[in-house]
Assembly symmetry: D2
Homo-oligomer: 449 residues x 4
């Protein structure tokens, strides 16, 4: 039997709190899960600093990746049962696409590293490029497993993730405005945070999904379920992903890594005991795939534990603030009140903080949904509803709710600063009092005025 068709002697299951069980039928999938690169995802949190706000949300990218696989598997099962292709090009589902879809689903996040967003920003890495490298580089275990299917298979799986794979149904399963990836993370993040906002009716959405010539559409009878999913997604962004305290911890992390990079760029630093050897390639921007694969959340926090005893007081303090969860405070500002930022930064400097490391601004904006627009840099695949006569209509044209948020960015701009500006430490109150007062006069109702 060719490897790709080889089934496990008995279907295997992994217990999962969101999907109850993850079902694994193919040896190929089991082998991918058992690779070193995939197991590494167990040590990288899905939500990064948000777990410092929602303490239950300590789940990892490993868990999420299995969930995306499982949803994709269910979509394939449903398509094969209800919409199997009869003749090539009839717009129905060709089950020969199943394996490439399942592998792309499982591996779509394999290139993520610790606290990806911040890490990438400081060290100029790119998790998407690394994902492709892990799939296609002959040195990885993942590549070795994929190659057993065929020499072209690794590149095919990569092309699904890169959205260049010829079959749009497969691409849209994994990445579109309503795909297996988003559906899993919304449900999973809601489950582990304990919030209710991310809940939508997965079973119903899966039931109304159907393949068509140009991708995946949704039967119009399921319009409200799709609408409800869009709303859930919107709420999760507003309530969880954009939480100001989570962003405040990200600011600290970012400044901490930046500071370390600067510190270690001077050669004498390297000689000290307990040096962050695993980060050196990144400080020098001379890393290879193997260097990258040695990193995980624990690597960073281990170095932070070293650094909290550093002779650089800023590095030590930021390490302490991150490890011991001392978030910066924040307020919103707008185009007009933005002009006040320099003045606020000056006051903060006067109070004894290096404004470069202890303040920041951060915009969190999400586009909850948009129709296809060829003028966009990355045009989105719009959500299509299929009427009983087979005609498609775009979601926002029939849903007043979705229409209300279509194409509109939602989020806020925040200025971050040390908590001490609001709660002066005892000991120096008299000295700094006027500074604090001036500072606080600029804040009202969570806004800079």
């Amino acid at each position: 039997m060719p490897y790709q068709a080889e089934r496990l002697p008995r279907e295997k299951v992994l217990r999962d709190p969101v999907h109850n069980y993850i079902y694994i039928e193919y040896r190929l999938i089991m082998d991918l899960i058992n690779t070193r690169e995939f197991q590494r995802l167990r040590r990288i949190k899905q939500l990064g600093t948000a777990s410092l706000v929602f303490h239950g949300a300590e789940h990892t990218r490993f868990t999420h990746s299995l969930g995306v696989y499982e949803i994709t598997r269910q979509i394939c099962d449903n398509f094969q049962r209800n919409f199997p292709t009869h003749t090539p090009g009839d717009g129905l589902w060709d089950d020969n696409e199943r394996l490439v879809a399942l592998c792309a689903a499982l591996l779509h996040d394999i290139g993520h590293g610790p606290y990806s967003h911040t890490f990438e920003h400081i060290f100029k890495t790119d998790h998407e490029a690394i994902t492709v490298a892990i799939l296609t580089s002959p040195d990885t275990e993942v590549n070795q497993v994929l190659r057993s299917v065929s020499p072209e298979f690794p590149a095919q799986v990569a092309s699904v993730i890169q959205k260049t794979y010829p079959n749009p149904q497969v691409v849209q399963m994994i990445s579109s405005q309503i795909d297996a990836d988003r559906m899993d993370y919304l449900l999973r993040d809601a489950y582990h945070t304990g919030t209710k906002y991310g809940t939508f009716d997965l079973t119903r959405i899966l039931r109304v999904m159907r393949p068509y010539q140009d991708g995946i559409a949704f039967e119009i009878s399921g319009m409200h379920a799709v609408e409800d999913y869009i709303m859930s997604r919107f709420q999760m962004y507003q309530q969880i992903y954009f939480h100001p305290v989570s962003r405040a911890m990200e600011v600290i992390l970012s400044h901490l890594l930046q500071r370390a990079k600067e510190d270690y760029e001077s050669p004498e630093a390297v000689n000290e005991a307990a040096a962050p050897y695993l980060l050196f390639p990144f400080f020098k921007h001379e890393f290879n795939l193997e260097d990258y694969l040695l990193l995980d959340d624990g690597t960073l926090t281990t170095y932070f534990a070293h650094w909290r005893q550093s002779s650089d007081p800023i590095l030590a303090d930021l390490s302490h603030r991150f490890l011991d969860r001392k978030p910066l405070k924040s307020v919103k500002f707008d185009e007009q009140s933005k002009a006040k930022l320099p003045e606020l930064r000056q006051l903060i400097e006067k109070a004894g903080f290096n404004a470069e490391y202890y303040t920041d601004t951060n915009n969190s904006y999400d586009l909850p949904y948009d129709a296809y627009d060829p003028k966009m840099k990355k045009p989105l695949t719009q959500i299509e509803l299929m009427q009983s006569d087979g005609q498609l209509v775009e979601l926002s044209t029939v849903s007043a709710l979705v229409s209300a948020i279509t194409g509109k960015f939602s989020g806020d701009r925040r200025f971050f600063f040390p908590k001490e500006m609001l709660q002066p430490q005892s000991g120096n109150i008299e000295l700094f009092d006027p500074i604090y007062e001036s500072f606080q006069q600029h804040l009202h109702n969570d806004y800079i005025i």
Copy 2:
């Protein structure tokens, strides 16, 4: 206002997936949560290697500690509302005990380190002693916060955890056969693993709990709820905590730490780059509290990542097996088949494995419930049911189910060995075939025969 009575301006809540919200009314509790020692628990998994079997169970001791606090808070609320003391010694609830109970609940696990069970075994640490040290040593932030209540307060909280506190109601809230600790971990571990076994009716149990002279009793009308809790606990042990693959990963971890200790005991080891500085005090068994507090799960796995490139092939291989999740296989044995172990170990050596590092035996036995027995080393506090006339009866005398498991240990003894003994690697099949065959003939129906 004295510090201990100081309430937050507005009750604070933390979102929790198990209890919905954790309610915090006292500044003291908030300050304890914000200590460095408590925040460190965010980096120590509650279930250790079991998260390698139940992938959703990535929650930490931080989360669990908050849950134990919350259950204790609810018990205090209930006692104060329904059973407030009128005269000293009347066996009812004295709400002055609330703070000591809440602090003990929150801090009962503060001395845990990474993969505690295994770590303690190899490095001769003792998490209970360390808990007491963290509470009572003047250098910790926790001690500093507790001292603000009164100079004796740290020792009082410690004595609750050590079970020497004079009020048995407070002690039994935190540790007895049905306490806030167990109730939280059963519910939480069930939630995150996604299993149903740990579910019992917490609200009902809290409702039938009541203080009496010698501790805490349960109204007899709630007998079945208590019974159901005992059964849930039994099932969680059988299904989750004793899972053979989780124990197999623990065996690897244990041998890995043992090997590292032996390797680094030779002085030349210390000079190599990327040395495990944070572990040195433990290798030498000369650690202090500060050394201990720098460790977490990530520290260990970071060193394992270093070691996977070690020149010691056993250290490198065990590091790889742990990080990449390559569990040993196992079978059960009994007193009789135990005699076969030397022969099995010999075959394993013949197949090329160092039996000291690649095999082990492990017993997992739990006492699901027992009545008080003064002859035991650590006599258990039995569960008392209160009848409508106020008389107490011990649980197992009225519950046939509980009686069936009272005083009976349940679990198994397993022999662990490399998976390769069952699935020979290609390349050397011919050579080793007879060895594998001999080995496998000793196994039948998951037992050594």
Copy 3:
């Protein structure tokens, strides 16, 4: 102790699937639950014909009424703990209002009869007037219990339900755009139907509710939770309450009761055996409160069981269709296609159906949310959010989502007709074929064209 302050010797609880437990502290509440009029609600389904579509939704108004009581109790607890009044008129919560609020919550639906909406329409009853009558008429057990508090108490409770009670906080708890009534039915109907749409974060909403001078406001930090509630409500209307098959069964019920009324208006009808004695007062529109209280869902279906053997073929057939769940079919129409209705009705007559009893139109429109508008017949109490400086803002001015649906009715207009028009019965196909064909040509994509 005055009756109103009399507490049960021990707080009593009723197990509830939505709120876990319903807590009862006052004897007054227990006595009200035990009245004949309240127990009667056990025999009246909450969702009427919707239970014929969502088979799990067989819960009753009894259950819902307890839930509204419980939410109100929690609101009072929260208000009393966090916002107790200090001086009269300070806009905070006066806990002397608790009892009137709890009673109004418990009794707000006590005047409902079987399949209220339809029954009222045919027999010109008015459940709100009957609610007031049950509370204030000296003959009811409810009135007797309420009178024990004070002679004015029954009228006070009634005035809360009538929205004329002077304290707007109490009124808004029970009836406003986000009140205990709506919050309970959304959660409960979602639970029993098994749909996910009605889920919102009750605990969070209760946490951000607060009394103010003119009623109840919500802290702005909870804006998204309120928004999510509005969305849930919207979805429940679209998906559950407006379900076309549920409305189709209501059409049958309505025509069936209408037909019975007409049949029994002729005096000879009364003489037949198994006459619907309990309905006579309603046929004659000469009913009193006692007559009304004898009715429940089972009374109606018992008479339908009699009538399925009636000599009036239309009465018999409609009874059969209702009891055996044979819904009419339906399609949407709009202002333009409305002109086709006479033609469709003619075709239906030609196919042998009396169009008066076998067709109907039905509009289902809901106003998901609106701001206060003094020009409306019944102006709505708008949802106010309180900023950190105490200023109020109306919800739709800060929520883009809510703004999108504010003041906009949502729903559809449907034309109902016999299923036989789409699925001709065997036996008469040839004869009627051209009729069916003509009929079906008017339908496309669930619309009349």
Copy 4:
């Protein structure tokens, strides 16, 4: 296409709170659901008087029957996917048995009437015989649908329910100690009561079920899941099904029907207006199937509403007690204290109650599990576990927990009496005081002493 193989154009789903969706693939199943006899189950509560204690439990036999169908469907799917027969007699699953299994599952309760247990006892009906009659009598719609498969099909389906069908796999799916019927009602009753006791891991049990020569076995790896199911069942009996208040309401119902039967046996009764025509055939014990099918819960309560105005004070009072939920009180007794019952009855008579109608004894005993015993009147099918070598072991031989309750009846014997004996009504206190005192002296700790 033969009718039995005819699939719906698109698989239909019914939303279900327990199983999420009920999936219907065959036209045959849809047609059975649409029969009059099956729709009638919508008007018969699953739990009878227990809904008067657990107010959420208002679900019906209709809902449960769909659930049993769904579980059976999942078992068949699993068997067909994993254990399809290769050669006749190989002990594996023959999917030609699917339809008979599905129909038997759906229809197994079709013969139930209102408050079956009590009704049967008073009127000597037999729901199992009626089930067979509904399946096999040519007059029913169910029979007509089943006959479309083949002339023998109705009798085949009946034989599964009667346990005489030749294939033991099919029989055990529907009735054994762990069958689709029990699994559905435990989960469903737990869901609607809101209790946690009935929860067990359905998915896991379905996964370890497998066909073998003599029926259905469970893989030994699932032993604890089966054990947990047995414990859940045990708890549900103790906590829900045997609840004393539910049994107290059953006692009232029973005496009420008995009294009505006696009253209406005298011919003059029949002439009164509002006579209970639908019950006459049962009063006279001359009923036919059509008479039986006209009854439902609402029929009985409608007559009770008539009777509460009856001239027979006992009939009127018992009707009032049932409709308005005024349960009798009860205490436990044993073989010894049984001797006190006559004395207690005398005191009750002295207090003015007819002991025949106002007192009763009731035993509730359940056999939670037993091994097969050929000496029993109806020997039970024991639960078999399959080891990895294919050998079977009986559950209680490997489970200490199950062994503890195997073959042991659990439950209690209670004596029921009017609540007034404990809470004298005002007005007659002086007169009856000594009677009440004597009575109460016999009760202690919920027992007769």
